[in-house]
Every structure is written in structure tokens, then in C-alpha cells.
Symmetry: D3
Subunit: 238 residues, 6 copies
């Protein structure tokens, strides 16, 4: 029995509000239950130094949590003067995931910078970030098309992410904080709209897990991503 009363293959309620941020070229407030992330996409002329004169662009991401987005307050990273290893790990993952479905040569030497800021956390902030970032990035690309910065939509596929885990011996979909902090195994899956796998990260928090368990988690992830994809399409009016 899950703390939230959800079935083992049941996602939390998903909400996606594109255009949430007045100033950004693209944005999305994404909610997976009580996990709320504000994603913005910022268009920038020019690309990172290592891409100069290649005709290619870049998509990069940063991630942060408001200090009291969590149960107890987390010290503000700006005040501590550095980003934690966890923060860096997550923002690298988000950037990698998005780039996996973008044809960078269609961007030209331009960059989109994604900011994922967790307003409220209840487990699954990185997967909510990726799922919402797709919407914000889509909105930004549309803006770039309309403003003549690019001539073709650079997406090669859509992208979504969800976490699964083994909680009390049962594989379950879309861990919330109560589950996440007690799961024996925790795995994040990043999948494309066409079903390809872009990233798999599975970690045994206590006991090692088996191949069979892992495949069951992957199956749950596919079910969850179907729902996320629907929410993305609705948000984007596709």
C-alpha cells in the first residue's frame, strides 16, 4: 500500500501551464502532485566556445531549489557560494536529455538556456523538470521560428522522464517524497515519444536489485511516460 493510496502503476496528477513566466521566450509551470517546478527557456545569440564556427547551437540547463521548497529548509546555494554535487548532477542530466531530441545543427550558433527552479518539492523534481522543460523549450523554439531565428523546428522527437522504485518490495511508478526516502531501489528513466531510451539511472539504496525487477521498473516508466506525453501535447495544443 502506497502512502498516497495510489495504485502501483498510477502517476500523480500532472499539470502543465505553458507561458507561466511573463519575460521568458518559453516557460512552463509543471506540477507532478505536490512537486512544482517553474521551467523557463531563454534564447541567446551565440554558442559556447567549443562550437564556434561549427554552425551548431546548444541547449543547456541549470537547476535550483528554493530554500524552503523542501520539508526542512535547505541552505541557499548562492549564500553557500557553490552548487552541490546533486545540483550539478541534475542539471547535467536535464541538459543531456533535452539535447538528445534536438538537432543542434538546426539551431545555428544559438543557445537556449533552460532554468528549472523547484518551487515546491515532493519527490521527482528532476523528472518533472525534464518533462516540463520539453514544453518550455518547444515554446521557445516556436518563438524562434516566429521571429526568424530558425527556419525549422529542431526537435527530432519529444522527451519525458519519470522515476520508479521498489517500495516495500513492490515496484511502483512516480515516487513521491515519502516513497523516495524509503525506497529500496530508485530509478530514473528518460524516454522519447517514440519509445527510445535516452537515459537510465538505477540505484540500489539498500539491497542490490535484479534484472527482473529492473525490467518491471522500465515497464512502469513506459506507462508513466505515456501520461506525461499526453499532458505535454495538451499543454502545447498539439
Amino acid at each position: 500500500m502506497r502512502p498516497s493510496g495510489r495504485a502501483s502503476d498510477e502517476m500523480r496528477q500532472i499539470e502543465m501551464t505553458p507561458g507561466f513566466a511573463k519575460h521568458a521566450e518559453g516557460s512552463c509551470m509543471v506540477k507532478f502532485g505536490h512537486t512544482h517546478v517553474l521551467v523557463t527557456a531563454t534564447f541567446e545569440e551565440g554558442c559556447p566556445p567549443w562550437l564556434r564556427n561549427t554552425g551548431k547551437g546548444w541547449v543547456t540547463a541549470e537547476y535550483g531549489m528554493l530554500p524552503r521548497s523542501t520539508h526542512g529548509r535547505m541552505p541557499r546555494e548562492a549564500a553557500k557560494g557553490k552548487q552541490s554535487g546533486r545540483t550539478q548532477e541534475i542539471q547535467r542530466l536535464i541538459g543531456r536529455a533535452l539535447r538528445a531530441v534536438v538537432d543542434l545543427s538546426k539551431l545555428g550558433e544559438r543557445q537556449v538556456r533552460i532554468d528549472c527552479d523547484v518551487i515546491q518539492a515532493d519527490g521527482g523534481t528532476r523528472t518533472a523538470s525534464i518533462s516540463g522543460a520539453y514544453v518550455a523549450l518547444h515554446q521557445c523554439f516556436t518563438w524562434m521560428l516566429e521571429n526568424g531565428h530558425i527556419t525549422e523546428m529542431p526537435f527530432t522527437d519529444s522527451i519525458m522522464a519519470v522515476s520508479c522504485g521498489i517500495y516495500n518490495g513492490t515496484p511502483v511508478l512516480d515516487l513521491d517524497y515519502d516513497e523516495d526516502s524509503n525506497a529500496e531501489t530508485d530509478a530514473n528513466f528518460v524516454l522519447t515519444g517514440k519509445g527510445g531510451i535516452v537515459e537510465i539511472q538505477g540505484t540500489a539504496e539498500e539491497e542490490p536489485f535484479t534484472e527482473e525487477q529492473f525490467l518491471r521498473l522500465l515497464r512502469l516508466a513506459r506507462m508513466g511516460c505515456d501520461g506525461i506525453q499526453k499532458a505535454q501535447k495538451t499543454a502545447l495544443g498539439l
Copy 2:
């Protein structure tokens, strides 16, 4: 004529949503027009080192802006590894303003930490922060009373803040970004519910200003703070 079409003594629409943040002991989403700040109040046992064994507590504040809360994107302070001078100046002001209406000896050796995070910026983020922080802090103190951490409400007065300025030669109330970035003079006022002055900061951005102009700004600030005080009372159900 103001860019927004407001009268010279007209505030933007104020909204205050207490309890916005699920995890915090006190919180308030405060909106002054398009300026949106999420304020949370975190209760902490213990006080800063310099107050040990005095029986007194402390109220402190931190301030941050989401990178794309602004027109152009501001680099993330956590990534740059330090808080700007502006950030530090603002968070020192917020803490000082709140402490001016708190009897610290009624807190005992406890601290409340206020976090003001700008979700969207359109001028006046520091004054919106102070005004909303009063609500979040009030909610936190109520929680502390209900949970037996304190026995009396520590407030000695209420507190609110607003900016005024001279725009196109006219003193106006509650500057938005368009006005703020073009004002000749810019002043922030922190006033108490009973009309006392807690902080005045006036700066000539171009021409020096006169005593008469300054007094006119103070008068506008008093009018604005009346409206803010009403919104605070409504939010708190007082």
C-alpha cells in the same frame, strides 16, 4: 502620464496569498502587479552565536531572484558562486525592517529565517518582499504560539514598504520597472502600521532632489502603505 496609465498616487493591484508554501511554518505569495515574490518563514530552534545566553531570538532574511524573473536573464548567483552586492543590501534591509517591529526577547533563543524569492520582477521587489514577509512572519509566529514555542505574539507593530520616485518630473507611488529604470529619483520607505518610519532610502539617479520633493514622496508612501496594510489584514483575517 505613467506608462501603466495609473494615477500618480495609485498603487498596483496587491494580492497576498498566505500559506502558499506547503512545507513552511509561514509563507505568503505577494504580488504587486507583475512583481511576484514568494516569501517563506522557517522556524529554527537556537539563535545566532552573539545572542547565546541572552534569552533573545532573531529574525533574519535572505533574498534571491529566479534567473529569468527579469526581462533579460540574470546569471544564477549559485552558479557564479556569490551573491551580488545588491542582493546582500536587500536582504540586510528586509531583516532590519522586520526586526524593527519584533520584540526579540519574546522569541526566546529561537530564530525565524525569512526567504524572499522573486518569481517575477517588475520593479519594487524589495518593498513587496518586506510587505509580504510581514504576513509570512505573522503566520509563523501564530504557528509558534500554537505549538508552544512562544507564549505571546512578538510583534510590536506591523510593517510595510513601498517605493516612490520622481518620474518625468512628477512624484509617483509604487514604481514599476518601466518607471524605475527611468526615474530621476528613487526612494524606498519602510513604515509601521502606527505611522512610524523605520527606514528611508532616497537616491538621486540623475539630478539631486530637494527637501520638498522628498517630503512629497514620503506623503505618497504613507498613502501606499495604508493600502498595503489593508491587504495584510485581509490576508491574515484580522
Copy 3:
């Protein structure tokens, strides 16, 4: 009764020694009683990035305290690896104050960098810094004229600053450390030679203050600035 025995409207003894620093284009050792600040002005070709191709220059300031300029030793900021919020607040104030009386377009794309280093502190270091910086900057501008970097003196007015406060219920001029650390209200005023107001910062350290009290402080500040202006003129031989 003030600890120093001064009358409520009596400044400390002011001394200004221009040309104190052998290597700098402009300099001034300024003393307000036991508060001693060494100000230097450094001429630099080129301007900050945001002014490129505007034909305008810039005046900026940095501020520091020698570790044992104070009663107890303050940790060296260079060793701590960062400047405190207070330091940044003060150096931003000094730069803003000076720029208020400089026509930046007369500088061309050149910068003057002011360094204010407190050799000994006894209250009022920021206002002594501004008052002495005017002299150092004047000397630097004169050097620039003589060396053909500019063709006109860029000042539009002179500038001076002083702190006032309410000490034991009485408004007094030019707080020293004993007063400053016990004042109920503390205010800094930056005024021009012609009497314009450039910056006002008033803070209630305990009780909120009233409009009447504040106006009395402003009146004291005007008296103090008259004396400072005389000292500046004497120092510059004007």
C-alpha cells in the same frame, strides 16, 4: 550630553591632506576626528563593457578597512575570500554619490577608480570616504586635464556627506563610534555644494522615528556639510 563633550550641532575636527599617496593620480587622507581614511583615485584608459561606444566614462569605488582599524580586530576580507555585505553596500554608495556630480560624457571612455581604505575607524567612515573622495577625484581630474586626457573639468557640483543620529533622545551631528553604536536612529546624508540631496539613508535601530525628527537630522546635516565643504575648498586651494 555627548560622550565627546561636543555640542549637538558640532562636527569633529576635519583634516584633509591632498596628494598623500605618492603613486596615485589623486589622493586625500581625510580625518573626521579619530576616523582616518586614505582615498586614492586611479586613472584608467577604457570604460566598463556596458559603456563601450557611448563616449561616456565611469567613476567607481572600492572600500576596505584595515583589520585593526577597529576596536576589536575584524577578519581581513582578503583572507576570508569575500567582501561583506556591508562593504559592498558602502562602496556602491560611494560610487553612486560621486557619479551624481560628474558629467560622465566629459570623461570620454575613461574610468576613475576610487579606493577608500580606512586606516582608523571611529564612526562615520562612509561619509568621511565620500567627503575625501571628492578631493581625490578633483585632484585626479586636474591631472587628467593637465595631461590632456580630458578638456573640461567634469564636475557639475561638489559633494559631501555626513551622518546624524538620535542619541539619548537628542538629534546630533557627526556620530562617532560611541554614539553610533548606541544611537536610536542613524542617518547618512549626501548633499551637493548647491544644497541638492543626492542620497538619504535613515534607519531606526530601535524605535521608529518621526518625520519631524528626520527633518531635524537633515537640518543638522546641512550644517555639517557646510563645514566639510570649507575643508574641501581649503584642501584644493579653491
Copy 4:
């Protein structure tokens, strides 16, 4: 055809030299072909703050690369003043992997700190680090047993790691640098001696991958880990 001429399921030559470092309680120079990592294990009395009074200990890891361990020189992280996101990601992985096979309650409130320093890099430094760290940690635990710091060997299993990937369309075992920098998909597997899975990290560098491909990589990883386990046993004389 692999650049090295190896068969698709062929590991590089593995060498493990325990006791390489004169001063450390445990150490191992581990070589996977041209990838050379020096691992040391340092015994420390006391545990991290969050474990105080729990009777449990901790195993943690740090990772670094000599500046010219790589083809081109990498800037020294000590000189840059911070560890990269990649470094932090790797050292978190190493620590997590080791703790998965250690019964922390058998350590008491003691910590072992693992240092993995890459002397020469040719792909697979994180998996070589984990595999060698098992040997260094084993040596350290033996030292702790002999010196009376613990009374039972705290391992619950052994641990090893290897990378696999899809290179030119073919799943291959134990990527070297030439393969790693061109692989379409790159996956790291951390497995226990009994065959349990502790960590899986799979990333599509270009095209998303399929479930079938991923399972093939897992199968290769199991073969590689068998060889690593043999080398570990030989090194430890088990």
C-alpha cells in the same frame, strides 16, 4: 572492428597492485589497460555529524585526475578552486557503490575515506576506480581488524564495475578512450560478486537506444565483472 583489435566481449588487461602506497591503511594501483588509478583508503576515527550516536560508520570517496593524465591537459581543479560537476558525480557514485556492500553498523563510528586519483586516463576511470577501491577498502578493513578497531569484516559482498557501450552499432565491453569518445551509447554497471545490480547508468550520446540493446550491454557487463572479480581475489590472495 574495435580500434584496439579486441573482441567485442574482451576486457583490457587488468592489473591490481595492493599496498602500492606506503602511508595508507589500504591501497591499490589498478590498471585497466592504459587507464591507471591509484586508490588509497584512509582510516579515520569518528563519523560524519549525521551518524553521531547511531553506532554506524561511513565510507566516502573523493576522485581526481592528474592534469596531464588525459590526452590534452585538464586544468587543475585545485587551481580553478572547484571540482567540476563530473568529478562530483563520479565521487558520489564511488562512495554509493562501496557502501552498498558494507554493513555500516559493523564499522562503529568510524569512517574510511577512499581517494581515487587517476594517474593516466584511457576511458573507464570511474569503473576502474570502483573495482580497485574494493581492494583498497578490503586491505583497510583487514588493517582495522588486525588493529582492533573492528571485530568483524564489514563486507556483505564484493563489488566491481565496468563500462559497456554501443560502438559502430556493436555492443562492446570495457570501452577505452577511442571508443568512449565515439560511442553512440555508453553505460556503466556496478555489480556485486553474487550478481546483484547496484547501479546502472545508461546514456544515449546520439540516438536513443532500445531495451534489447540495453540488455545486451548488461550481459557483457556480467562477463567483464567475472574477470574483474578474479583479479580482485588474486590481488587479495583470496
Copy 5:
């Protein structure tokens, strides 16, 4: 011929003003010609962690330069966020030199912190710092004796320092900036009042130097230190 017209064995004019800093337990403004260093000595109860429970105290030093103490402006180390290698090298040298003539066991578990701040630089700031620090430290020890913190003067000898070098092929005493920046060889000597050698640092800036040359420099240093010792005695009224 030296740029200053001094004879090869002629020191610059030395001035030492003890008690220069109002707040410090000991202080000395030391001038070697145009090189001016303000040295303060701060008494602190307690000693560094590694001396706890040894009954011994410590003497440590910090060093800094005002940004415009030099010909061109040096960036402020507090603003850069770190002390240069040169700064650290010098402050380590100053501390080491002073400790060489202090019986640390006579301090008990107390520390004296020396701050050497260069007000104006014209070569030889480190040697002027050491020479003046002896005076400031002497004054501080005297204060400690008078206030009952110690019962015996902890000095075992006096200490002084001077630089020598080979300039235009000639060994000369007490290099000023013009000489220092062009010397072929540059050497700093720290000597005790009784003639013992505490530190020798000789560096060939261009050609290697010979043993004979080096001995000539040492002889010049002895002559210079005689003069410094006299100035110290005069300053201390000994």
C-alpha cells in the same frame, strides 16, 4: 651609481612610530624611505587548535597592500576573493621570522596576530614589515605584561630584516623599487640582534650568482641590520 644616489652600503632613511594605531595593543608605522608599512599587533586569548593543552601560544602574521600603494594599481585581494601566492609567501615569512625570537611557552595559550599593511610601496615591503613588526610586537608584549596576561617578556632576541641585491653588477644594500625591478639577484636576510641568521632567501633573477657574491650580500645585510636595530631601540626607548 644607484638611482637614488645612495652609496652601495647605505640604507634609506628609517622611521619608526610606535603606537601609531589608536585601537591596537601594539603598533608601529615603519618607513624605509618611501616604503611605508603600518603594523599592528592584536592580542587574542586562546591559541590555534594544534597547540591546545600544550601551554604554548602563537604569533602569526597577515600581510596586505593597499590597492594604490604601488606604481600601478593592484586589484584589491578582497574583491578578487583570494590572496595571491606572493601575499601568502610573505605573511608566512613574517610569522616565521617573529616566532624565531619568541619563547612561545612564555605566552601561555594566547596568540598575537600581526597585521602588516603596506600604505605605500617602494621596494622592501617584507623586510620593513618584519623590522617594524618587532616594535609592534614588543609594544604588545609590554601591554600583556602590564595587564597580567604574561609574567615575563617572551623575546629571546630581537629581529630585523633587509634586502640586498646585485644591481648593475654591484652588490647594494636595501633595494628600492627602481633597483629591485632591475636587480640581477635579489636576496632577503632576516637576522637577530645577536647576529644569528633566521632566514636567507636569495634568487637569481637573470644570471646565477656565485658564493662570493652571496657572501658580500650577507655582509651588507649585517651592516643594514645594525642601523635597523638602532632605530628599533630608539622607537622602543631601550
Copy 6:
């Protein structure tokens, strides 16, 4: 009697393995007994900013210690976020020593970056670094000649370094850790193949030393450097 049983003028066993690092243009694993340092030399096109358009190049050095190269573990400087004063002092010394025997104008606007990483420490790491760096740099220059980056060997002499000290009242050559940590006086000498002195650093750790003692240390250093020079020649096949 020395702890190692060596005669007072006896060096430890020296081993130098050029070409140790697969990727570097030059490298040398240098061992002075149990002190092991891996030195690499990296060729870089371009020179530091202050040499642009002078036709001259540069040789610079960085130094680091593996955390458990020492008896007790030293915190990793990359994790602490800064290099210690000692580290900076040493790397400045190494660079200075090498540049003393290089004709920088023969490099053209190119830089060689030397990295000295201590794999195991037993006293004398800085002198071993310099001695081994000569070999690595020689190898790098040879590579540069063979690859047409330079047309003449830029060395003007060879360079070697050794430490001496007074241990139990006796001057001894090539201090190991047991001696170094107990020596009364500790001196480092950097000498050229032709016998010139490039750097002398002598420090009294307890009692001041005399000129006679110092000259005896220099004589020992000359003997030690003869042996080091032989080892360098053998390593380079000269």
C-alpha cells in the same frame, strides 16, 4: 646518526624514468628514496598576456600532492577550493628555477606548463620536483625541436635542487621526512650544472644558524647536486 643510517653527505637513491606519462610531451617519474613525484611537461601554443608581441615564451609550474601521499591524509585542495600558501610557494619556486636556465626568446610565443604531482612524500618534494622537471622539460623541448616548434634547444644550463639541514647538530644532505620534521635548520638549494646558484632558501626552525653552518650546507648541496646531475644525464641518455 641519521634515522636512515645514511652518512651525513649521502643522498638517497635517485631514480628517474623519463617518458612515464603516455600522453605528455615530456615527463619524468622522479624518486629520491621514498619521495616519488610525477612530473609532466605540456606544450602550449601562445604565451601569457604580458609576453604578447615580445617574441618570448614562458615556462610555468603547478604542484600538488595526492591526499594520501603523506603520513596522515591531507585534505584535497580541489575539495577545499583553494591551494595552500605552501603549494603556491613551491610552484612559484619550481617555475622560477626552470626559467633561470631557459632562454625564453628561443621558445617564441609558446609556453611549457610543468605539473609536479607528489605520488608519495618522504621529505624533499620540492627539490625532487625541480630535479625531475629538468628531465621532463628536456624531453618536451626535444619534442618541440623534432616537431618544428623551435629550432634550437633553449636551455642555457642544466638545473638541479636538493635540501640540506642541521639535524641533531650535524649538517646533513638530502633530508628525509624524519629528519626534515626535526631539523633545527632547513635549507633548499637550486644550483646549475656549471655551479651557479639560482636560489637559496635557508630557515632556522629553532635556533638561528651561523654563516659557517650555512656554508657547510651549501657545500653538501654541491655534492648532492653532482649526483643528481649524473642521474639526469643517464635518464636523458646524454
